[in-house]
């Protein structure tokens, strides 16, 4: 009963976050940077942040996560971190030999006002960046936004700091996949390819954070977007950013700087959002949808119809990142379920508005908060119970205390596996999500069924 401390009575809290539903910017930037081949992320700040970000990513992906730190000391925080960063760049290239270093800031270096751009230029001038090697950077103060914002900032830097127009089209499409699992990134890439389009996807953490056991330790696993590809993003036919919060900045920057036309779509989670993604690809590339994809869609629809009576009218509580929650909420509506309590930790007004639109049919039954925290969500549930909870690992406390069927979804997931291998995007991903939801609901039915109603066929 961890959350015996949750009271039913709801008071407005202004100065306090209890049981957060978000983490901070640098971890998102670190995750994004890992999706470039040969890249070592670098945290410009004190050691602690970097250690925490690495531990959390390590726990979620169960893979080694490398990142260096500027190791700020009291001196650095008074006189600025320039010396630390220049020395760090030098040390990193000699010891760890990456192709590039992706620097992100932390609260500390942001607050003391380090100008990373200028420091990197100095390092270059001082000859600390070897020929053919690169340093990119993103500003990620964690008292603004959340881990999603950090991902967005790094994704934007990735494109802008490499892209160069050559004048000849590369015939490709830029895809920014959003803050999703490595498995999702692989699935998105596959969908794009199935439509006959060749993608430049950045970042791409598949094969990096879900790699095979080889018996060897490689600091830079085979995977990720290459620097060559990043340079070439300016020559692409178009860009699609999936998930407005995580991906819009990157594709819009390429649009305004290099006239690469962009679209920003929801993450392809669930039937309708995947439809929109496929359709956008189809019309942008002027191709027709291959049978294999149509068949997959049909399968998802088939499963929904087979199982709809188990889903209908079930009340669901959700916590997670805005980009995921929006299409997820829409998917639940498609399934006939009622997403009634929805919380994200990431600030932003657009979120609540979108959710209200999607759930308009349910009217006032729906409560939504962004930024909110898990404590608020729990209080809502205590007042108006739900049949299912979908949230990251921290949801398990609520699920246990209030005995609610529960599906793990989002970031971080620290106590289960599967997320890094089985995508939830696309039609196939939809089937997996549906399976998880059904398992949770039907296991509960079985558990609670009285003897005479315990049935073989459900």
């Amino acid at each position: 009963m961890l959350l015996r401390h949750t009271t039913k009575e709801i008071k407005e809290r202004k100065s306090l976050t209890v049981n957060p539903a978000k983490t901070c910017q640098p971890i998102g930037a670190m995750y994004a940077a890992l999706g470039i081949h040969g890249c070592l992320p670098h945290s410009h700040g004190s050691q602690g942040c970097c250690a925490y970000h690495r531990s959390t990513l390590t726990r979620h992906y169960r893979e080694p996560v490398m990142a260096a730190t500027s190791s700020f000391t009291e001196g650095a925080s008074v006189f600025g971190g320039q010396a630390n960063l220049v020395q760090a760049i030098d040390n990193i290239f000699t010891t760890y030999d990456p192709d590039l270093i992706a620097v992100h800031t932390t609260c500390l270096s942001e607050t003391i006002g380090d100008d990373v751009n200028q420091i990197v230029n100095k390092a270059k001038k001082d000859g600390k960046i070897p020929e053919g090697k690169y340093v990119i950077h993103a500003s990620t103060p964690s008292y603004v936004g959340s881990h999603v914002t950090g991902f967005a900032n790094m994704a934007k830097s990735m494109a802008l700091q490499f892209a160069k127009k050559s004048g000849t089209s590369n015939g490709k499409f830029n895809i920014v996949p959003g803050f999703v699992e490595p498995s999702d990134m692989a699935a998105i890439k596959e969908m794009v390819k199935t439509l006959g389009i060749s993608p430049i996807m950045f970042p791409d953490t598949s094969n990096i954070l879900n790699g095979p056991l080889t018996g060897k330790y490689t600091m830079y696993p085979k995977g990720g977007v290459s620097i060559e590809e990043l340079k070439s993003t300016a020559d692409s036919i178009g860009s699609i950013g999936l998930g407005p919060l995580a991906s819009a900045d990157a594709v819009r920057a390429l649009d305004s700087q290099f006239k690469v036309p962009c679209q920003v779509l929801d993450l392809p989670i669930g039937l309708l959002a995947t439809d929109r993604f496929i359709d956008a690809l189809r019309s942008a590339a002027g191709v027709s949808v291959p049978d294999s994809i149509t068949r997959e869609r049909g399968r998802l629809l088939d499963v929904i119809s087979d199982m709809h009576h188990h889903l209908y009218g079930k009340r669901v509580a959700l916590a997670g990142d805005p980009d995921q929650l929006i299409p997820l909420t829409e998917f639940l509506m498609t399934l006939g379920m009622k997403p009634v309590h929805i919380v994200t930790g990431t600030p932003g007004k657009a979120f609540a508005k979108r959710i209200k639109e999607i759930t308009a049919r349910l009217g006032d039954e729906v409560k939504v908060k962004g930024p909110g925290d898990m404590y608020t969500l729990h209080q809502w549930i205590k007042n108006e119970p739900v049949d299912l909870l979908i949230a990251n690992t921290y949801g398990k406390y609520i699920a246990r205390d209030d005995d609610i069927p529960y599906v793990r979804f989002g970031f971080p997931i620290l106590d289960r596996i599967g997320h890094t291998y089985f995508p939830t995007v696309g039609y196939r991903g939809g089937i997996r999500l549906l399976e998880q939801i059904l398992n949770a609901l039907m296991d509960r039915m079985d558990r609670d069924a009285p003897e005479e109603k315990f049935e073989l066929v459900m």
Binding site: P20, S46, Q47, E63, T69, T94, T95, S142, T214, Y217
Partner: protein, 466 residues
């Protein structure tokens, strides 16, 4: 992989026993900028020490990350209240950074104290708070006056040093509590257990031993901790210090202020556990019954575990282990415990060892053992491969590295679920090591599999294995 160069500035932090170079371990230094260090920050140090006090409020003053990452991460069990497992943060935003966060802190504290009526409150200052210059002490004083409970600032700004400095800040906070006891008077046959955090229920095991010996445990700092108990700590006759890295500072302060002597012990492994209990019994030699009871206890407990240890030893004899732990003190016990089950240590590293620690470590290790301070993952991987280790003992960030290399792993840090202390802890440790080292999965790892000669074609040798 073979050509990993070691940074020049790190050369003095790596040493191989038996090599010509004079042993001059440089440690206790700041990690080099640009290092992929496994170390954390001051805040982390304070947080882990104070965390298990279950009826106190732990409020993290700073931006959200510092709170998110430390939410219920430590598995420190409580037999009663669970308030310590909640995550409370002032979640500083941009405007707070500009205008200061004092007001927000005060309001948050008042709200929380009103809602949860905790016995005391700890306010952790993170990096940003140090930079924007909030007067946290003043806020604490004010709230304390208003609410009547101890409201204690923990000066743990991350950049102000290493995790060790965080331990110190935590000790200061603890002492702040202890000092509130108006008339400390030593109780007979009584001890405080210091530096024991009840990971997986370890505190309960140790307490049980002392109870059987006829010794009164006044407080455990901080495993399964309660504010009132900590405040009684000044009444004990002896401080028994386990995780010395973290709480020696407190023991020293209590010695100065209250004249309470302390001893450093370890409860890991049969040898060290018995030694710890005997030394405490020895301290109370005025009560001879204590020594008698201790002898009985040790004899009984050892007899219980030995048969099992003998069986695993058969499988583990001669296998090699690599250690990378927080404090070096832990490494000493681990080396002895591994020896008990027949294993040899080929790499021993620590995040926060002192010079003396490394001297001792050197004495304990075999020729050829690599000893390192504040290592990075590349170095760890390099030596594990070179020395062909069968087991890695470390923390969260080392686990996937060990697995990628295709060797067993045992967590000796944050993510333990099963207690390792005392006699039953030794049995748990042996079982865990045995399970991971002899797991069939490692034979399937390409590196190892290639070494084993494949069975001749046509013969079904591969199916013969029992």
């Amino acid at each position: 992989m073979s050509s990993i160069s070691v940074l020049k500035a790190r050369e003095k932090q790596i040493f191989t026993k038996g090599e010509e170079a004079p042993f001059e371990m440089s440690c206790d230094t700041k990690s080099l900028a640009g290092a992929v260090s496994q170390r954390a920050c001051v805040f982390c140090g304070s947080r882990v020490v104070l965390y298990p006090i279950a009826d106190a409020l732990h409020l993290i003053h700073g931006p959200i990350g510092c709170a998110s990452y430390t939410w219920d991460i430590r598995g420190a069990l409580s037999s009663g209240p669970q308030l310590h497992r909640m995550s409370f943060s002032t979640d500083l935003s941009e405007t707070d950074i500009i205008y200061g966060g004092e007001q927000k802190l005060q309001q948050a504290l008042l709200e929380l104290i009103d809602q949860y009526t905790p016995k005391a409150a700890f306010i952790y200052c993170t990096c940003i708070v140090g930079i924007i210059g909030d007067d946290v002490d003043a806020v604490c004083r004010q709230v304390e006056e208003e609410t009547g409970i101890p409201v204690i600032p923990v000066h743990s700004e991350g950049f102000k040093g290493t995790k060790k400095d965080g331990y110190r800040a935590a000790c200061d906070a603890l002492f702040n509590l202890i000092r509130r006891n108006p008339a400390p008077a030593p109780l007979p046959r009584s001890i405080n257990i210091l530096g024991e955090f009840n990971i997986g229920g370890e505190t309960w095991i140790i307490k049980k031993y002392y109870e059987a010996m006829g010794i009164n445990v006044v407080s455990v700092i901080t495993g399964d901790g309660r504010v009132d108990e900590v405040m009684q700590a000044g009444n004990a006759a002896l401080n028994v210090v386990q995780c010395s890295g973290s709480v020696t500072h407190l023991a020293q302060k209590m010695e100065e202020e209250y004249g309470i002597p302390f001893i450093r012990v370890s409860y890991f492994g049969i040898e060290d556990t018995s030694d710890a209990l005997y030394r405490v019994a020895e301290f109370f030699k005025d009560s001879p019954r204590i020594m008698e009871k201790t002898r009985d206890l040790v004899k009984n407990e050892v007899n219980k575990v030995i048969p099992y240890l003998e069986t695993v030893k058969k499988d583990l004899e001669g296998k090699k282990a690599a250690l990378y732990v927080g404090g070096a003190f832990k490494a000493f016990s681990l080396i002895k415990a591994l020896k008990t089950i027949g294993m040899e240590v080929i790499l021993a590293g620590s995040q926060t060892g002192t010079r003396e620690d490394y001297e001792i470590l050197k004495e304990m290790c075999n020729q050829g053992t690599v000893i390192l301070d504040d290592a990075n993952p590349l170095e760890l991987a390099k030596y594990v491969m070179e020395k062909d280790a069968d087991l890695f003992i470390g923390g969260v960030k080392e686990r996937p590295i060990a697995y990628k290399l295709g060797i067993g792993f045992c967590d000796h840090n944050h993510e333990r679920k099963i207690p390792l202390v005392g006699f039953e802890g030794m049995e748990n440790f042996a079982r865990e090591v045995h399970e991971t080292v002899t797991s069939p999965v490692w034979d399937l790892v390409p590196r190892r599999a290639a070494k084993k000669s494949s069975p001749p074609a046509g013969k079904e040798k591969a199916y013969d294995t029992p």
